[in-house]
């Protein structure tokens, strides 16, 4: 691998959607170290809120003022390429000998569009259960922290997960969820807090039931099936029964199920790695992570990534590439993973001690990488359709929880909505 040699001074502009001070500090650290190594190059880091990023991106798109390096994700790789917002990075990778094929294929393929590379995955994210160890101890349960799906593929099932979160649920009178007299209207601590309206929760549940979300050619929805209905029952019944945090509580906590866990109001939450840095600073209890439970058919967890791409409007793409190459090198990855917020997406760093050996919590870091083996990425529906589809799912779940609709009706409705979207794109 060779380092780009850039003559003259240049300021690389860089856009990220990670706005927390800890994350911005990491990017500033990367920028600072890069500048030390390349005194003629500076990096200007801009952080935009992810919640508003669609609007920001629309503004940049129409104004044509994209920075040299832009945050992107699987949803945006294709539209960015089609609208000439990002450019193919393979020529740069090959020019400088960067091992771009070393990324996990699942993540890499999310950024490959028509044979071109339009996203370098920054980290590998897989949704796995986090558990509050103090609450587990008080409940007298032993969570399967040492469980290895390679050794026991049929172990740690959803039924066992159900027993666990019921046991961990406690009402205001101290009654547990699996005890007689449990008052679901007055819960003090929920067994789990789950973002039920997010694809990375409901899609894996459908697949875990043996169902399918959409057909392989993306022409029609396959959600309306016994597996789809069973999956949506798994999503809604625990909230109705008081074992999972209700949507109103999650909404009060800034619409983040992880915040309920961080506040000590839930014993388990299904989250990705980036929550580690928040939990280490806000949760006073010890916590750890475990593998995703297996559904009746298979074990599936939501997996995804986001990354960065070279803007097609970069005035000095080699300089911008130089920063990307540094970021994705060992020194850059060491800086990035030091915040506990990332798992490297490049295979050569999976076993690197610079992130594996970070002091806990969490203590079982291998789970974050081992879970890639059963991860699934989101279905590739058009990104501008994800809004109405997500609304249909959210409304459906709310309707079930409020007793307005049955699960069967909701699944049929969501299936219809998805079919409309898929037929519109043909």
């Amino acid at each position: 691998m060779t380092t780009p040699v850039i003559s003259g001074n240049y300021e690389v502009t860089f856009l990220t959607t990670q706005t927390s001070p800890a994350d911005v500090a990491i990017y500033e650290q990367l920028a600072s170290r890069f500048h030390e190594l390349n005194p003629n190059l500076t990096v200007k880091v801009t952080a935009e809120s992810n919640q508003n990023i669609d609007q920001k991106l629309l503004t940049y798109l129409t104004a044509g003022t994209l920075p040299d390096i832009v945050h992107t994700s699987d949803n945006f790789a294709k539209p960015y390429k089609e609208n000439n917002i990002t450019q193919d990075m393979i020529p740069f990778a090959e020019k400088y000998g960067f091992p771009w094929q070393d990324f996990d294929p699942t993540f890499l393929n999310l950024g490959i569009v028509d044979g071109q590379l339009h996203m370098l995955p920054k980290q590998g994210d897989v949704i796995i259960p986090y558990i509050n160890l103090r609450m587990a101890k008080e409940a007298g349960v032993t969570p399967p922290l040492e469980f290895d799906p390679l050794k026991d593929p049929n172990g740690w099932t959803w039924d066992e997960f159900e027993k666990l979160y019921k046991r961990l649920t406690v009402d205001q009178n101290g009654k547990r969820g699996d005890e007689a007299g449990f008052d679901k209207e007055n819960v003090a601590v929920y067994g789990a807090s789950v973002a039920v309206d997010q694809w990375y929760i409901y899609v894996p549940l459908v697949l875990g039931e043996g169902g399918q979300f959409v057909s392989d050619d993306l022409s029609k929805s396959l959600l309306n099936s016994p597996a789809g209905i069973a999956a949506f029952k798994k999503l809604t019944q625990p909230m109705v029964d008081g074992y999972w945090a209700p949507l109103t509580l999650i909404q009060t906590m800034n619409n983040q199920s992880g915040n309920v866990f961080a506040a000590g109001q839930a014993a388990i939450s299904l989250l990705q790695r980036l929550w580690c840095s928040t939990l280490r600073s806000t949760l006073t209890d010890d916590f750890d992570v475990m593998h995703f439970p297996k559904g009746p058919a298979k074990r599936v967890a939501g997996m995804g990534t986001f990354g960065f791409a070279l803007s097609a409007k970069a005035k000095n793409p080699d300089a911008a590439w130089a920063f990307l190459q540094f970021m994705y090198g060992e020194e850059g990855m060491k800086i990035i993973t030091s915040s506990y917020a990332s798992v490297p997406a490049m295979k050569r760093f999976y076993d690197s001690p610079f992130w594996r050996d970070l002091p806990g919590p969490p203590y079982h870091n291998a789970v974050f990488v081992d879970a890639f083996s059963y991860g699934t990425t989101p279905p590739r529906i058009p990104f501008y359709s994800t809004g109405p589809f997500r609304q249909a799912v959210t409304d459906g779940i709310v309707a079930v929880v409020l007793g307005k609709s049955s699960v069967e009706e909701v699944v049929a409705n969501v299936d219809g909505e998805l079919n409309k979207i898929l037929q519109a794109r043909r």
Binding site: L61, L249, G387
Partner: protein, 317 residues
Amino acid sequence: MSSTFVTPISEPARSPSRPVATPKAKRRFRREWLWALFFLGPNLLLFLTFTFFPILFGFGVSFFRWTIIEPPVFIGIDNYQQFFFADRLTGKVVTNSLVYTLSALPVSVLLPLGIAVMLNQGIKGTAFFRSIYFLPLVTSSVAAATIFKWLYAKQAGPLNQLVGIFGVPRQDWLFDEKLVLPALIITAIWHGVPRNIIFYLAALQSVDRTLYEAAKIDGANTWQQFRYVTWPLVTPTTFFVLIITTIGLLTGAFDMISVMTQGGPLDASNVLVFNIWRTAFVNFQMGYASAMAYILFLVVLVFTIVQWRLQKRWVHY
């Protein structure tokens, strides 16, 4: 013989308001125009760039189907037809908007008048109460909405703890289809009242004190003084408050709803202005959202015109 009936030709009469434009006057006029342009220009430029042209652009977009990513497609008045005849949400959204506005309006207009009358008494402690009542005015709407979201929380919200004292079971204020709009209305009233108090205070302070003295001499009690002296003289301010409060309620609920309910549960708190945002930036239907925005504009315009016509019956200048 003298020609007494022959009128000599005379100069045309000069209007005193239109002096003859001498070169000096023309130069002065031009200079004044340049100064006017200098001071008004920046604001005019901003207005044209960020208000006027986007309004025109939005009107144009309303006749297209446009997702931003794909090229716009001209569809005529389809977006407007969709709103009135094809969108299953229209009825709910319009009903919610009307309920929200018409419920909050009377309290938002009359309560500030009552508070202003009390604050205008000049009794001890008035300055302290003025500070308290003006606090919502200096609070950002997003911050206020965040606090109210916590206040209304089912599990640990103070409101549920308060009503629990009276034996009322805990309510899910923001997740109950029947309670969510009243909860939002209360928040809107809390946030909107202080601004109207300021308008009324200014109006009350311009009422001639001698009128109250005269009324007292004539034997008028407190209510009669209010009814026959205060109220007629503040009706112009009341009219103004009515108009701006209505416009504010119809168009300004977005940030509160976005923070507190996102239009839910099941669109129970989805009003037109929030639906416009969601249609544009979540569903990426720019054309349809623009059409809805213009429909909202027409609603506000019609309401304002109606109120303007009705003012003759009750506003005293």
